[in-house]
């Protein structure tokens, strides 16, 4: 009996999944955003194969513009900017991934508890703390966390993740709340399933798509925030190549060399654009009623 049911469910799920894939591929934001993100991942993964070492110094070509040997030119020390930007993508993606994973890992369970807990005190208490945390401007909260943790890529990513937790709590709470009135939740309650099981096995899988949208948008914000922290000197430390630290160094050469400041900023913009487009597109596909501008 149960195998019949499962077979039936699989048969229904397959065309639905195929339909979703088609809708995703038809959405220009998803396609362009996805391609940009893919390009970024490929660039980061292949950096050691397609570019020279980021610290290799070509003293004869210091501070030069783009050329065949150095597609993005060189920095004032003679290091290849193309290589430094590609290697910087590793830092940015790593920071984005860690920050989003950490905030989702903390924020989603806490958000679910804030929606589902029996105790009004717990629900209200979580919301008040989230309110208070959101009173701190995002970058300032990340700065404070970075001050506690100390400089470094991992610490910056963790600091950004901590600063993102309230956002994920809110989204997860809203999603769980929106599912609570659904019949399948009522049915699970009637079956006297434990609360944790209802939330984890039944409610959260239905709330995955908005959380995915949030994760994509958050990744963009995390990348620009990591660049900001590194620009301030509190994130990734030289000589590790990172887009924010490159910009920090380039600011000192603005009078003579715009090339140095141009590429890291363009890289940040493209990465954020990719994740924003992907997030916006996913939102349009998952929730066609709320189309973005």
């Amino acid at each position: 009996m149960s195998s019949t049911v499962n077979l039936g469910a699989a048969a229904v799920a397959r065309p639905r999944r195929a339909g979703l894939a088609r809708r995703l591929l038809r959405n220009p934001s998803v396609v362009i955003g996805g391609l940009v993100v893919l390009l970024l991942v490929a660039g980061a993964a292949l950096a050691p194969l397609v570019a020279v070492a980021p610290d290799a110094v070509d003293a004869t070509a210091a501070g030069q513009g783009p050329s065949a040997a150095h597609p993005f030119g060189t920095d004032p020390l003679g290091r290849d900017l193309f290589s430094r930007i590609l290697h910087g993508a590793r830092v940015s993606l790593f920071a984005g991934l860690i920050a989003v994973a950490l905030s989702a890992l903390i924020g989603i369970p806490v958000g679910a508890v804030a929606a589902y807990a029996q105790s009004r005190l717990v629900r209200g208490g979580i919301l008040r703390v989230v309110d208070a945390l959101q009173a701190f401007p995002f970058l300032i909260l990340a700065l404070a966390a970075a001050a506690v943790l100390g400089p470094g890529t991992v610490n910056a990513a963790v600091a950004i993740g901590i600063a993102f937790v309230p956002h994920f709590v809110r989204i997860a709470r809203a999603q769980v709340l929106s599912q609570l009135g659904m019949e399948y939740v009522e049915a699970a309650r009637v079956l006297r399933l434990p609360s944790g099981r209802i939330v984890i096995r039944h409610i959260l899988p239905n709330a995955v798509s908005p959380l995915l949208v949030q994760a994509s948008l958050a990744c963009g914000v995390a990348i620009v925030t990591e660049a900001g922290l590194s620009f301030l000197g509190l994130g990734t430390q030289p000589p590790t190549p990172s887009w924010g630290a490159e910009l920090r160094a380039a600011q000192g050469y603005l009078l003579t060399d715009i090339n140095y400041a141009f590429w890291p900023g363009l890289a940040i913009s493209l990465a954020v654009l990719g994740f924003n487009l992907l997030g916006d597109g996913l939102r349009d596909v998952f929730d066609p009623r709320r189309r973005s501008a």
């Binding site: 008040r128 703390v129 309110d131 208070a132 945390l133 959101q134 009173a135 701190f136 401007p137 995002f138 970058l139 300032i140 909260l141 700065l143 404070a144 970075a146 001050a147 506690v148 100390g150 963009g220 620009v224 660049a227 900001g228 620009f231 301030l232 000197g233 509190l234 910009l247 380039a250 600011q251 603005l254 009078l255 715009i258 400041a261 141009f262 890291p264 900023g265 940040i268 913009s269 493209l270 954020v272 654009l273 924003n276 487009l277 973005s292 501008a293």
Partner: protein, 324 residues
């Protein structure tokens, strides 16, 4: 219940929630200093101080007392305007903040103004413009605004307008009260850099608000009466669609205060953001603590004001709906 009493009850509840949020904010700020690595007594006493001297400083600062007592004493001090003393130069933290706040507030207010000046026409154009061009242009504006980091945009503006064209000086700050012309000339680039970034989000809201209102019955009535499109836009659509825009503009304040840390760094503006970063590097955490509290209080106060303004602006928002 008469309306006046309902209004008062709502106001009291709203203010009560604000006070509660501020209390939790103070606990978070206090927890921040506890989480910091290193010994604050050692920082105050100086690296060369003898262990006896460090213990003496610890006692003087009250750091040997239990945490709840330290917290209560901290709250007591803050409420009476004592934010502590900077470990760097021994000056009261509140004085340092008061010195830096005007530059940050000026930057914030002017940037919001520029953001609204870009966003409102862009949003209306996006909502009313026919054809694909307006849609593409607005999407391009909002996506660029949301993706290009303001601090890089600021650096590019410096290169074009200060280094190449030499229209503006980049870097430095003259207080508004000392020389308003020099002040505005120095503020132009930072304000445009921040305002452009902020305009993207507001433009999105203007567009959707105008689209929402455009399909309302009273707009259709106005059209049926034969009013011109321009008049309908000015008299009927704009005033009604500006309510959510006011809210979202107010709420931008929180995000913008964070972004200003970077703008102030790029342009060397001595604001609160710069003070936080400099104090983190100097390990002057009493100042960082004061700045964190000030930023959060500013945001909470602005959010509360936006909430109050919201119910005043739109008579349809009943106090009951607002949570009474």
């Amino acid at each position: 219940m008469n309306r006046g009493r309902v209004a008062w009850r709502w106001l009291l509840r709203r203010l009560g929630a604000t006070v509660l949020t501020l209390l939790i904010v103070s606990v978070i700020v206090f927890a921040f200093t506890q989480a910091l690595p290193g010994d604050p007594a050692l920082v105050h006493a100086g690296a060369d101080a003898s262990p006896e001297r460090v213990e003496q400083v610890r006692e003087e600062l009250g750091l040997d007392r239990p945490l709840p007592v330290q917290y209560l004493s901290y709250i007591g001090d803050v409420v009476t305007g004592d934010f502590g003393v900077s470990a760097r130069d021994g000056r009261p933290v509140l004085d340092l903040i008061a010195e830096r706040l005007p530059a940050t507030l000026e930057l914030a207010i002017l940037s919001l103004l520029v953001a609204v000046l870009i966003a409102v026409p862009a949003g209306i154009f996006a909502a009313k413009g026919s054809g694909r061009l307006s849609g593409v242009l607005t999407s391009a504006l909002t996506l660029t605004g949301l993706s290009v980091p303001a601090f890089w945009f600021a650096i590019m503006l410096i290169y074009v307008f200060a280094v190449q064209l030499q229209w503006f000086n980049a870097g430095g700050y003259v207080p508004l009260t000392v020389d308003w012309q020099a002040n505005l000339a120095l503020m132009a680039l930072p304000v445009v850099a921040t305002g452009f970034r902020r305009s993207a989000e507001i433009a999105r809201f203007v567009r959707s608000a105008v689209l929402d209102v455009s399909t309302a019955d009273y707009v259709r009535v106005a059209e049926a009466k034969g009013l011109t499109g321009r008049r309908i836009m000015r008299r009927h659509i704009l005033p009604n669609s500006m309510i959510p825009v006011v809210t979202v503009t107010g709420l931008q304040m929180a995000e913008m205060l964070g972004g200003l840390v970077l703008t102030e760094t790029v342009f060397g503006i001595p604001g609160i953001g710069r003070l936080i970063v400099d104090s983190i590097f100097a390990r002057d955490f009493v100042v960082v603590q004061g700045c964190l509290l000030t930023a959060a209080v500013l945001v909470v106060v602005v959010n509360t004001l936006v909430d109050l303004l919201y119910t005043r602006l739109d008579p349809r928002i009943t106090l009951e709906a607002a949570g009474v």
